[in-house]
């Protein structure tokens, strides 16, 4: 054992103190991450904490063997994650978070499994915590994998049938009974332990499959909080303070974050978990009268070139088309001509919170041109042109006045208040909620059909041509 190389007691003290440092760095890191200015350094702080904890754990008194296996496993997991994490496109971030989060849940469940298969008696409290961490971790593991599959497009359908909630309840109940038997020491045979974990894994699948893709960010955040909780529980089992603190902090921070995200999307958590959205409501959108009036890129370009103020509303389509760079180029051209340009960001535009901000930041749009819903909504009335690029639901006026609409009550960007509205989209494709958009049929709205990136390119030419 490595720790025998040190004087007795030194290894343990070193581990204890390092874990304290790690806990400190984690909290400071999260603190910094919650403000835009310091966010970048926050993850670095937390990263140092992780490094310290990882290295020092080789000295932990409990580790007696398998050093080679440990290093191998770290390399396998680490290299794979590094490679995938570096390659993934910005738009695919949410599913990668889901994947890594699921891995954490799986690791917590694995710890529980090692403990429970050993069959040692730990006392009721510790056993209960091991079982609780095991079930939560397993649900988070399989649930996150489903979330990954859905967002990645591997799972296209939502499996839903009557009485689904009832079946889930039944599975949960069986898992709890098995867990109870184990925790109480009544029957902790490998058989029961296996049944317990299988049930927990199934529960994660059946809970997540019916949930629509639109709600996935909230669900991922929820599983993130759950993994934190599972880690904290297993930390109690292993008597590991770093795990207890980090897990609990994430558990509570993640719960709050889940609520904030659900609120930003105008959804309640119960709604997200127990009723499908985007799927079940797809057919309820009322019909809208009027027609969509197309416009040529050249005309649209002239309109903007001679405008005083243009507000750009990006949406999911801009992300799909990766049009942010072209859009910023267009904006710069307009600014040079003396046009006031602002970007209006809806909190749930795109497919993850802050999606648009991340993309615009990537393209290099300065912060002060970007405005929140609250800030900008009053300004649409003074805008000559509202340029909507790939956004749909977030500018749908139906949310304001049609009580029967599933998005009724969601705060939207008042793009319809602008003097002219230009909408870039490829065709008649609907937004995430699958309902018609009354904005497209307004008298002062013109449709510029085409892929986001291509259309932005044409507008650039048109503005340049306007001289």
């Amino acid at each position: 054992m490595i720790q025998d190389l040190l004087p007795p007691g030194v290894a343990k003290t070193l581990v204890d103190v390092s874990y304290l440092l790690t806990a400190f760095l984690f909290v400071m890191g999260l603190k910094r991450m919650s403000s835009p200015v310091t966010a970048r350094s926050g993850v670095v702080w937390a990263g140092w904490g992780m490094l310290v904890a990882g290295l020092v754990t080789f000295l932990a008194p409990q580790i007696a063997a398998n050093y080679f296996l440990i290093v191998t496993a770290i390399l396998i997991g680490g290299v794979l994650a590094w490679w995938t994490g570096k390659r993934v496109a910005m738009t695919d971030m949410p599913q990668m978070i889901a994947l890594y989060n699921g891995m954490g849940g799986g690791a917590a469940a694995a710890i529980a499994a090692v403990e429970l298969y050993q069959g040692e008696t730990h006392g009721l409290v510790i056993s209960s915590l091991a079982v609780a961490g095991g079930i939560i971790g397993s649900v988070s593991f399989s649930g996150s994998l489903i979330a990954f599959g859905k967002l990645q497009g591997l799972i296209k359908r939502s499996f839903r049938f009557r009485g689904q909630q009832f079946v889930n309840m039944l599975i949960l109940l069986c898992a709890l009974v098995a867990g109870g038997l184990i925790a109480a020491g009544l029957d902790a045979s490998p058989m029961v332990v296996t049944i317990f974990f299988v049930l927990a894994l199934i529960l994660g699948l059946t809970m997540t499959l019916p949930i629509g893709g639109a709600d996935m960010p909230v669900v991922i955040s929820l599983y993130n909080a759950l993994t934190g909780l599972a880690v904290a529980f297993e930390g109690f089992v292993l008597n590991n303070a770093a795990m207890i603190i980090a897990g609990t902090v994430v558990g509570s921070a993640g719960t709050l974050l889940t609520q904030l995200m659900a609120r930003a999307m105008n959804r309640s958590l119960g709604n997200v978990l127990f009723s499908g959205f985007g799927e079940s409501t797809a057919a309820t959108g009322g019909e809208v009268s009027g027609s969509m009036k197309p416009i040529e890129a050249s005309d649209a370009g002239v309109m903007m070139a001679f405008a005083q103020k243009v507000i750009i509303v990006p949406g999911y389509g801009m992300a799909v088309a990766q049009a942010q760079h072209k859009v910023w180029e267009l904006s710069q051209l307009l600014i040079e001509r003396g046009v006031t340009v602002r970007f209006a960001i809806h909190p749930v535009a795109g497919r993850m919170p802050g999606h648009m901000n991340v993309l615009l930041a990537e393209a290099g749009v300065p912060y002060d041109l970007i405005a929140d819903l609250d800030e900008i909504n009053a300004e649409f009335e003074t805008a000559d042109v509202a340029l909507i690029i790939g956004a749909n639901d977030v500018v749908n006026p139906v949310a304001r006045n049609d009580k029967s609409s599933p998005i009724y009550g969601m705060p939207i960007l008042n793009a319809d208040k602008a003097k002219n509205v230009i909408v870039i989209k490829r065709g008649q494709g609907q937004g995430f909620s699958g309902i018609e958009n009354a904005l497209f049929y307004l008298d002062h709205t013109r449709m510029l059909y085409g892929d986001g990136q291509a259309a932005a390119g044409q507008l650039i030419q048109a503005v340049k041509a306007a001289g």
């Binding site: 580790i63 994490g85 694995a110 980090a246 909190p347 002060d368």
Partner: protein, 103 residues
Amino acid sequence: MIDGIIALYIFMLAAFTGYEVIARVPVILHTPLMSGSNFVHGIVLVGAMVALGRADSTLGIVIGFIGVVLGAGNAVGGYVVTERMLEMFKSSGTRKPATGEHK
């Protein structure tokens, strides 16, 4: 080492800390923060290391090994993704420091 009631104290205080640290975070940081806290629970790696390091049965070693692979994936992947996401805030932030803090 950590007896029952003390464990509860730590649990309570850590929960308060987590909650308060996140409270009032702007919407644009929701996803990076989700990712960041996802990275933080990658600390499960050290637990998995301990579990594998003291496992003696084959089953224990196999499960422990899987646990360490998963834990390492959580930690490393979580870091890389978070770092990439926050990198973007930096670039805009430094270009226009005066207006860096918004909302």
